[in-house]
């Protein structure tokens, strides 16, 4: 059935971005337009979950992408609400002249993510993935200055190289589609899945590492994760929140779709092995670097690399592991978005991103301190957060495969938890070191509510997964052919 909802969510942000461009001085209007679109987006996601429609041959809602779409909507609405307080804070007032850029590129970025998620053609997915890099680069460059420039350059360059690898993978896959036993196969996901057994396995095996490396770059998987700490640390906190919670997911859907083709082609073992390898590499790097982190936003960036590694490992296990990986992806998005939004509050209070400059948070702002601790507990997968359930399921499944890998997995997670805990404790405890740098910096309610709601949802899912979400996750696992 042809959908009008899909063009609505793809075209509305373009119209709103143009409106903002023409009405630059009306700053409040920018905020309301972003809020309006986030509400439309949530409504559209709910609609597409219930009616999995398509638009032309190139966009289609299915059992897999509707989960990602819902997560994007929830995080986007939280970020849109948080932006009200963030840009009103005096720390941000000096950049107020360019706040329109934030709203324009945020809207375009979300549209590009929708394009990635809903694409039913591998080439179309690539086009939107590249577009997402260009739009999010402008978000990373929001503060301008040397540091932002360096971070943006590294982000654009590393991601573009990665995305070029993905394009090489697409071409190699298309060679396999010609050279197989079933005649010429189109590059639509459905066609690739149905005809997977007829794709030439040699070219499929050649294509997969390129596609994994390409999509893995945007997902933040090692060894292509270098852009992530710089980009996360230098972009404004609400932008970091949405990039960290949704861009990595959008790239993950690319990995999942190609992985499905591999499973359908009977090459699941090959793709599982590569995913497992990249997953463990993605645990090793944060385990080493998180201990050396001097910047709390960089620390959170390394934590994102770790969580994408966990998601990759869960996916490689398959079955219950894949279910856990999808659940983990949801939990990570909710908690990491809350964590990054809260880092924006801390930056407004202490005017620094350096861990050693932030002390005595509990005395300066108890609300922020408790939100910081709650986010830490959630991201380290302690109960009652949903990440506890998902990690436990992954560990259980991994234990069934290999005890040695399970031990390595647990040791690396422990090292990462230690690294984050050390920094979080030093930030909340003690006396404020720079007493003059905060004090009257009161934040409005919209500076707290999004984090409370996001963390509340992560706890709720940890205690009880509602039947509609459970069905969605089970359908997604079935859709993957597991």
């Amino acid at each position: 059935m042809t959908s009008w909802v899909i063009p609505l969510i793809l075209i509305t942000p373009l119209v709103l971005a143009l409106t903002i461009l023409f009405l630059k001085p009306l700053r409040n209007l920018h905020i309301y337009l972003t809020l309006l679109y986030s509400a439309i987006h949530l409504a559209a996601s709910i609609y597409l979950i219930n009616f999995q429609e398509s638009f032309s041959n190139y966009f289609k809602a299915d059992s897999l992408n509707t989960i990602f779409l819902l997560v994007l909507s929830v995080v986007f609405i939280a970020v849109a609400v948080y932006s009200i307080s963030f840009f009103a804070h005096k720390e941000e007032e000096k950049h107020i002249e360019r706040s329109w850029k934030y709203h324009v590129f945020l809207l375009l970025f979300v549209a590009s993510l929708d394009g990635i998620l809903l694409s039913s053609h591998i080439g179309m997915l690539w086009v939107f993935l590249e577009a997402s890099t260009l739009f999010s680069a402008m978000l990373v460059y929001y503060y301008t200055g040397k540091r932002a420039l360096e971070a943006t350059w590294k982000y654009i360059f590393i991601c573009s190289i990665g995305i070029s690898f993905a394009f090489i993978g697409i071409i190699l896959l298309s060679i396999g589609c010609i050279g197989g036993s079933g005649g010429e196969i189109e590059l639509f996901w459905q066609s690739l899945n149905v005809n997977a057994k007829h794709i030439n396995p040699f070219w499929l095996k050649m294509a997969f590492p390129f596609l994994l490396l390409g999509f893995g770059t945007k997902m933040g998987l090692a060894p292509m994760q270098n852009w992530l700490p710089d980009a996360y640390a230098e972009s404004p906190s609400p932008a970091t929140a949405i990039i960290s919670a949704t861009l990595v997911n959008a790239a993950f859907i690319g990995v999942l779709r190609v992985h499905k083709v591999m499973i359908m082609a009977g090459l699941g073992f090959y793709s599982n092995t590569l995913l497992l390898l990249m997953g463990f590499m993605s645990l090793l790097i944060p385990a080493v670097f998180i201990l050396r982190s001097k910047n709390y936003k960089r620390m959170l960036a390394y934590s994102s690399v770790e969580h994408m590694g966990i998601v990759a490992i869960g996916t490689s296990i398959g079955g219950v592991g894949l279910f856990a990986a999808l659940l983990h992806m949801i939990g990570h998005s909710l908690i990491k978005a809350a964590f990054f939004l809260n880092s924006g509050n801390i930056f407004c209070l202490f005017h620094s991103k350096r861990i050693k400059d932030v002390t005595g948070l509990l005395k300066v702002s108890p609300a922020n301190a408790w939100l910081w601790v709650a986010s830490f507990v959630g991201i380290c997968a302690f109960p009652p957060f949903v990440t506890f359930i998902s990690e436990l399921l992954i560990i259980k499944e991994l234990l069934g495969k290999s005890i040695i890998l399970t031990i390595i997995f647990c040791v690396m997670l422990t090292a990462i938890i230690y690294g984050i805990a050390r920094n979080v404790i030093s930030m909340i405890s003690g006396d404020p070191r720079h007493a003059e740098s905060h004090g009257d910096d009161k934040l409005p309610l919209t500076g707290y509510v999004p984090q409370i709601v996001l963390l509340g949802m992560a706890v709720w899912l940890g205690l009880y997964i509602p039947s509609f979400l459970l069905d969605m996750l089970n359908n997604a696992v079935k859709f993957m052919g597991e």
Binding site: M124, K146, R147, I161, S164, I171, N200, D230
Partner: protein
């Protein structure tokens, strides 16, 4: 038929040889001239392999190869280096002679791999495939060994040219809408990267990758 194959062979060989010149040279203008040469060679090879009866694809390829790759992008980059007074590449990580030897080895490996594939009856044109693999690998090598940011942009476009040739080696074409999106993305990337290089030039003392070491743990 023989004349036709020879023409195509010569174009592909010339396309791969442009990377030898890039490996040997340190002059920015030489890099950009090679970029334009690659665009023209891609135009020639596309005209030879695509049927003119398919008007849309035909005009699209003319626009992408002749207008963008041969004229617009090289002119834009030439303007960028002249305005920023970037004449030569900084001292590369390895001497140019060794670069040339390595790029030659890469090219040999690329073609040998492509001909090995032909032996296994794979559906690729070995010359196209070998030329494309060689240029892609050589471009990655240039990115790794050169220090100037502008050289990285130029090498990235060499990489994209290699990918373009690789896509020509496949008989199955992408739908027009996807091709259009790919072209627009790459063009936007070049513009954006150019703007950032200009800003880096203004903000940092050098235009080298070495000057971008402010963000560390």
């Amino acid at each position: 038929m023989i004349a036709s194959i020879n023409f195509e062979n010569s174009i592909i060989i010339l396309f791969a040889v442009t990377m030898f010149y890039v490996a040997m040279s340190s002059r920015m203008e030489a890099y950009i001239k090679m970029l334009a040469a690659q665009g023209a060679l891609l135009f020639a090879v596309s005209m030879h392999s695509i049927s003119p009866s398919d008007y849309i694809t035909f005009s699209f390829i003319i626009f992408e190869t002749l207008v963008l790759k041969t004229i617009v992008i090289p002119l834009y980059l030439m303007k960028l280096i002249r305005r920023n007074e970037i004449q030569r590449e900084a001292k590369p990580s390895i001497p140019n002679l060794y670069s040339l030897m390595i790029v030659s080895a890469i090219t040999a490996v690329g073609f040998l791999f492509a001909y090995w594939l032909t032996g296994t009856r794979q559906p690729v044109n070995p010359l196209f495939f070998g030329g494309a693999i060689s240029v892609i690998l050589a471009a990655l090598f240039i990115i790794m060994t050169r220090k100037k940011l502008i050289t990285h942009i130029i090498a990235f476009i060499f990489l994209e040219n290699g990918i373009f040739l690789l896509s020509l080696s496949v008989a199955q074409e992408m739908p027009f809408i996807v091709n259009l999106g790919v072209m627009l993305d790459i063009f936007a990337w070049v513009l954006l990267a150019g703007i950032f290089v200009k800003m880096i030039q203004t903000s940092f003392t050098g235009q080298n990758i070495d000057s971008l070491k402010g963000l560390r743990d």
